[in-house]
Symmetry: C2
Amino acid sequence: MVSTMNKELLERRYRVLGKSSPLFYDEPLQLVRGEGVWVHDADGRRFLDVYNNVPHVGHCHPRVVEALATQAATFNSHTRYLHENIVNYAERLTAKFDASLSMAMLTCTGSEANEVALRMARQHTGGQGIIVTNCGYHGNTEAVAELGLGFMPEAQTTQRVLGISPPCTYRGPAGLTEEQTADAYVAEVEQAIATFQQRGIGVAGILICPDFANEGLLFEPEGFLAKAVARVRDAGGLFIADEVQGGFGRTGRHWWSHQWSGVIPDIVTLGKPMGNGHPLAGVVARADLIEAFGEWGMYFNTFAGSPVSCAVGLAVLDVLEEENLLENAVSTGAYVAAGLRTLQDKYEIIGDVRDKGLFFAVELVEDRATKQPAAAQTSRLLNAMCEHGVLISRIGPHDNVLKMRPPMPFTREHADILLEALDDCLGEL
Amino acid sequence: MVSTMNKELLERRYRVLGKSSPLFYDEPLQLVRGEGVWVHDADGRRFLDVYNNVPHVGHCHPRVVEALATQAATFNSHTRYLHENIVNYAERLTAKFDASLSMAMLTCTGSEANEVALRMARQHTGGQGIIVTNCGYHGNTEAVAELGLGFMPEAQTTQRVLGISPPCTYRGPAGLTEEQTADAYVAEVEQAIATFQQRGIGVAGILICPDFANEGLLFEPEGFLAKAVARVRDAGGLFIADEVQGGFGRTGRHWWSHQWSGVIPDIVTLGKPMGNGHPLAGVVARADLIEAFGEWGMYFNTFAGSPVSCAVGLAVLDVLEEENLLENAVSTGAYVAAGLRTLQDKYEIIGDVRDKGLFFAVELVEDRATKQPAAAQTSRLLNAMCEHGVLISRIGPHDNVLKMRPPMPFTREHADILLEALDDCLGEL
């Protein structure tokens, strides 16, 4: 699919960014234009974007672009001067959380937000140990890389991070009730706590994405999170919810994915969808944690919380509310999920379909009984979908889960295009 | 100076951001508008900005705002699709460095850039030890906080960072030749290397701001850096130049502050002025280091290197070149420095004046012979300058150095306003 011009661009890119800078697809796409749920390549081809969650309210949303451009032309600065935007934004944002989560600290990236959360939890608890799942990903700084047990290098040697199996009702232990399944995963949390205590480093907290997004979009066995967090809190640790993927209404029913379980975190980290592509991220947490951390850590972030960033953040909240995008995530999400289950009836390779609002996971298996992951077919399917004009991706520890998270203004009309392309590509596999 | 409305805003800010989120001045300013070297507060007062280096080519530069707005309305994305902007920008950027520094890796913040540099140096060398100065600051993530020996909490306990005295010809050892002074500081580097080797953790590198900006804008004793880097390289370490403050022509004579010494770094980190306030930062380094790090660390940064960020970065380079802002930094900088030295002749409290392009440090002392820092007077002077409509700040381990780094389109007319205000405020001290 790469045109001659693109090959030249690719060579130039290799020279100045290196070959290790990752690209999607066997034949990388050169995208040049976007609006709503659509993107266009340099040859004028249009693609339905069912992958990108960063342009949360739609590519190049005019309301967000206008807010960005107007504030950038008026004033921008760090936060050591007073400005209304950051105060308005932090008030609007924290109002969407439980009353105990009343303060915000803004950063530029999700990695920085998770850094703040880790430093805050370790400072507050005096402990070092952090519990994660075995195959999550939380960012690219050293301390945060330690959390990426599946593939980040620092995670291979760290003594202060321990992983539990991703709580999974599809691939979890067979023959148990849901409560027994939950307890089996809670036992892993207890084991991690005991190990940290044996190491003499204490427990700082449990840090998870409540959607288990990188793990393959999992539903917790009911009661798992409440029990796991209770054990961690008994050991002196905190609950950090990484909402970098699931936040801002992606899952439709709630603004934040931790609300599905009803367990209130001590610290929530935010990122990707927050600024619709503008580098805006942050932490919402208990006031005592933020005050103590700010004093202890002398925290200041040059670019974060600027008038421009906060104008963008406010515009994203406006659009989510005024265009009723959470309601849309529920209704369109249910429509897509029903279509995916129809495809599951038709194609044996679809082992499981999981959905939360406008977040979908379709697990491909060689055999429904053995659940052997169909990773090669998943890769072929992604590339075929791209040829068919639909962008999706894959996730999960076995690289066999289709990952679909379209921009939020995704309608039934778009869903039909997605489902038809999936039907075609599954038929050709 | 805080109006009634500002007090209400300040209270609201305390409630959602906490009291530990830092603010400038005894009476915080509420700034609402900016253009060029001027900012305006909510009451319509105008201030000459002689502090902020982030709005590098001037507050709200129309060329930069236009590039931001146009690209944001067209397309924005991560870097896993091909796009011309990041390739064009990385080519333009790396072309301004020695040919050995041929690849770039973009991030959103200077902290992230220094994280990449540390991870890269530790991965490449197999060593852990990093040498810094005793009073630098390099960012706010955990690993980078370890470098902030003067006041960051993680730096108080780390075993893998050691500091040397900031090489200073004003406060350095008395009665030595410049070469002997350099050698005295080099001996501290040698001692740090020996300590790391005794600890069995090896040497990953020396990481310094070649302007020693946070140390008080120091000139190295000639030959210091060349010898120090040679010692570090002999021990297997790398030279990381933190150009987050001094880069992009701030010092006029060169694009990068490491060029004053002629010692070519292995890794250069970039930040603050790079995007004129847009969160744009990164690393320029040897190709082999970037390729190996990318493969090892699976490095990907969701927001960094986006078409929007790179459009902004390109516009900043355009303005720097087309408005001849480096030449202006040399000529206006010399004019300001001459004025500061005239003030030094008039006011006994000015112990030393140091300047590099449009970066100025004025060290206030109780007594020129003892050089006892005049920290309280420095604080009063800052606040008085603000009352006089001029924004400056202070730095240095003794909090007694006026820090002046205006946006680059700073002219003699602005210099006269600055010098007159300083004369008035010094007279009233």
